[in-house]
Subunit: 739 residues, 2 copies
Amino acid sequence: MASTSSLTLSQALLARTIFSDGSIQSSDYRVSLPTTTFSGLKLTTPRSRRVLPTRLNRSLRVRSAAVETIGTPAETSLLEKSVNTIRFLAIDAVEKANSGHPGLPMGCAPMGHILYDEIMRYNPKNPYWFNRDRFVLSAGHGCMLQYALLHLAGYDSVQEDDLKNFRQWQSRTPGHPENFETPGVEVTTGPLGQGIANAVGLALAEKHLAARFNKPDNEIVDHYTYAILGDGCQMEGVANEACSLAGHWGLGKLIAFYDDNHISIDGDTEIAFTENVEERFKGLGWHVIWVKNGNTGYDEIRAAIKEAKAVKDKPTLIKVTTTIGYGSPNKANSYSVHGSALGAKEVDATRKNLAWPHEPFHVPEDVKGHWSHHVQQGAALEAEWNAKFAEYEKKYKNEAAELKLIITGEPPAGWEKALPTYTPESPADATRNLSQQNLNALVKVLPGFLGGSADLASSNMTLLKMYGNFQKDTPEERNLRFGVREHGMGAICNGIAHHSPGLFPYCATFFVFTDYMRAAIRMSALSQAGVIYVMTHDSIGLGEDGPTHQPIEHLASLRAMPNVFMLRPADGNETAGAYKVAILNRNTPSIIALSRQKLPQLPGTSIEGVEKGGYIISDNSSGNNPDIILIGTGSELEIAAKAADELRKGGKAVRVVSLVSWELFDNQSDAYKESVLPSGVSARVSIEAGSTFGWEKIVGSKGKAIGIDRFGASAPAGRLYKEFGLTPEAVVAAAKELC
Amino acid sequence: MASTSSLTLSQALLARTIFSDGSIQSSDYRVSLPTTTFSGLKLTTPRSRRVLPTRLNRSLRVRSAAVETIGTPAETSLLEKSVNTIRFLAIDAVEKANSGHPGLPMGCAPMGHILYDEIMRYNPKNPYWFNRDRFVLSAGHGCMLQYALLHLAGYDSVQEDDLKNFRQWQSRTPGHPENFETPGVEVTTGPLGQGIANAVGLALAEKHLAARFNKPDNEIVDHYTYAILGDGCQMEGVANEACSLAGHWGLGKLIAFYDDNHISIDGDTEIAFTENVEERFKGLGWHVIWVKNGNTGYDEIRAAIKEAKAVKDKPTLIKVTTTIGYGSPNKANSYSVHGSALGAKEVDATRKNLAWPHEPFHVPEDVKGHWSHHVQQGAALEAEWNAKFAEYEKKYKNEAAELKLIITGEPPAGWEKALPTYTPESPADATRNLSQQNLNALVKVLPGFLGGSADLASSNMTLLKMYGNFQKDTPEERNLRFGVREHGMGAICNGIAHHSPGLFPYCATFFVFTDYMRAAIRMSALSQAGVIYVMTHDSIGLGEDGPTHQPIEHLASLRAMPNVFMLRPADGNETAGAYKVAILNRNTPSIIALSRQKLPQLPGTSIEGVEKGGYIISDNSSGNNPDIILIGTGSELEIAAKAADELRKGGKAVRVVSLVSWELFDNQSDAYKESVLPSGVSARVSIEAGSTFGWEKIVGSKGKAIGIDRFGASAPAGRLYKEFGLTPEAVVAAAKELC
């Protein structure tokens, strides 16, 4: 029996009739929405098989709907030329690279054109202008859509040569959109579902800042967030989590276009995705609109955006039914156009079909001319806003100063003095509690500091006591309540971090549940978002909840990830040090692992020590030549210190090293590293309540790593430490074997 | 300004009126469902403030609704006694442990009682009876509910002493349900959302096996899957992913109870979870019923189950509105009863309130007597089924033999002969393609082999060519189409694996997206589910898609996880070896990392070698004393082999080792390990297209690990290998520095 995949696909092709003007009729729409939620525009009646409609009809329709836009809409023939320019830039770039995804840009070119040419406010010559509208291509594989639009709009980051270097080494047009490579790209997308969640974060940031800074006479923060997501994004759980929050928070200025093309890599979505997306989104509290003809229904798209903007208390999902690979006579509406070059023959056929006589990468002069006004317009928009800000600054000096800090990312001078310090006499406490002291200290000095927990605020100790909850009607507050949505939380924080350099989002859950949000953490690291991950209950020390809740391999697995600071402070000073590192490094996420259990304030710990990643907290040796080095992190540093006391009683010269962050230690000079871990001393014992994986690098082949290389267990914490051999006695015994 | 969390909570308390008979009226239900989807039962009119309703009323109602059940319902007074027994077993166990979650068991005791006493078919003395109904407590923190029910039902795994040892070292009643500790627990839960997704897998397995093996005269596979999930599970994206698939697949015998108690750890769900769950589930294709009084509305619960069973083409969500901590006069309906012991004073108050005069852990004789029939009844159910199977076996010999293999987990004799083998002359090929040859070979000999990809079947090469797609109307097929839902896919496969020992589920995506499903992979490892993870595009070798799609730290991060075989085969023989390991180890998940790019068939590779994790593929040294050892995995083993050729030309004695699985190698004898990596040889160079994290263990402090300790980039694969220094020349240069 043959695989049914191709069967299913061809059935789907039969079931869908595509008319030459781009309108679609399908026999398998299960959705029947009440008409009140529609854009009000009717599906264009299928017409004759001409490829392009008459100029007159289109032109009239353009004018009739072109309200509330900032651009002057192009005449229809020009508009269609522009849309086809976008399509062919995508086709040509993918063809030249012989790699990429032409299908989405071909289908989404109309909505892309309308957004960048008529709707969005931006300044191509300053992609970082604060008050710009944000755009996120959540379906990141379709990045040629965005590159083509940035190119036409006049961004310096995407020149013709960049398009020709699509997906090549060190080009500014990589295989998926990367904010750190291509100014104009807001966030990094590609892993599905992340982008729409980032967009929720961007919209949250706008709503929060608008609520804090806008004045009746001066709405200094005022932009929209737009996103395009596909069927793939819709299937991802992270998208549902974030969209549930967007609905809960009433993010009215978030407008998401759902590219409903019914095709994913495995073929027709019929084989795995038959849910009613509109009904789900209504359940999530969104306003939903359906544009039935996304291929050529420019007015429908415009009207939908207008309607979406009018709904101020809900985010809007505009489902736009499109044809993937629109224009390709033999490959449109099939998975073959999703992720591969069309091939020379089909490119030719598509050129014929769309009446496109031009060479590859050609932008017709009139299209170029039309788009050229965006540079001037963008400069004017920014100048206008700058003037507005000058007014604002005159009238609202303090607010302006705060807002400036958020816009520029500069922490205020002396901010670090707010960090609490401790002495060995300070009371023992869990580092999760000490963390809360830091959070509440930092929020007083950092105007862009905000965050929260995935339903564990009272366990993670993450409430900002001076503030209430960020909610639909109290968006000026700074406690974010994410519910049990770790993955969405991380991705939303990435969006917040990328909104403005001076926003410092933190988010929290149990350390073990970094597993739920690992894809978002990786995006923080890759896209250089300095999100602060407050991860409590960081070992078997959490006790009775048992192995499902006890991290084992998590320290190792996050130390292995590039561009992450994995910090595991041992007490108050080290916790403050961890926060100092987190605040100072805006391009690297910091993950702070914190204890549930009480820990003493250890002599020798310091903020400065933490900044070096590894340092000596006590030593009775001389000449950089101890008999043995004991190395610990977090809650086990105390155990190492106790073992050292014991060994010193026996006459040994013992050094105790806190290795709070391996990455920071790696970044130090060889001389410094040698001063802490001299290569001549091979007698080394490490202790950490986690996997020993990776510790050979620190203790060497002659040393001993004490840890846990199995899953944990459910029992009181003290019992577990004993049963798993994490005791001063075990460290002493191991040390005695080595020296 | 005070934190608003307590405010929100008290507002919520004000907004909800709880009547003494347990019925609830809330002013904040935003949901207005058409009555046709309800159970048809009306909300009980609030009555006088007596705690217990009259016996007569209740008794009548019990009888009227007690249809289609297998147990004889207890008389109402006894029923309420039984329900309170469950509540107090939970209260007492949590109190004794001074740790745990009493709130859910107190609220869910009625539905728990009805399920285990009246509805479910099981045999307490054989928790592994094949045709039992499956029950999953997705809200795993409420495990005392399940332990109390298993205890009452007569499971040997939960005796009175076990209840008294709740959450203690080596007890059979750990802090969250663990299938590997407690027979009667089907899957391991606690991390939210996993359980409901496991339940989808269990129900999928039943539907699949029923379709394959049932005959018109003998429905040998026939059970339901029940689950209880809470607000937390509902918020998790993994739950939405799995439930979307359950709706798509029409899993009519999946019945999920949503414990709608409006309380999570952070307080009232109002602060983060205001979506319309019913509307979302209808969108997902589920049948939805609302039981408005889950506290005492026994008949409503019964009627809902009856209605759910009548709907055969859709899974059913029964939203059961309950009061968390029902019965506790001062803590019910608040977060304080969610995750902490009530405290002696409140336990006393609750005893008074529910008129419960008994000592802790007491099970009244009449309650004990009532439940005692389950042992006999369970034995009878199993005996009846055994007889049915004997009949089946007589009539349908081949099918019975296949089904037996699935039930027992024994692979058929000689199955491993089906694995393909290769010689160096076999054509070069990507290991993803070689993997597909294995999948298609295995499915011919393993009746329980099935699986699929998260929308990447044509990239992961995971289609079973002899079979069609498992779909609503073709459930006998074996290709699972998961859509872009990696996390749900993994958790569903855990459910399939735990359904029957002879089911071998595999699932696939790009290796980098193990990040999306890591929590499910960890549950495979912890709960000992031998799921096969087919993870292709396993390095920068995937090329142009760029860093969002290129795994770097993933090998290290999965090697650090306990009870996982992380396998990275280099060619055809090693791919076959990886599958052999995966099939033979039913209690350990195997993750097979596979290349997108073509690789040669290397001399010296073998299935047997893979089984040892690390082995010599070529060596021109003698006396176990090479000048240098080159170590590679996967696609880089070829590079190591080329470098060896070059070094040998220069007169060096070079050993090349394939370290295809570190865990398997660790499991070998010291003598074997010494024979492969002699401790006297410190000149070692490793090469792997991933993080070098952890490689110090293999190459030692004097050796050199060649890898990638930054994110990847978008460019053709060949260029990337060159730019990242993963070349034979680099290995040769490193080797020359060492020997």
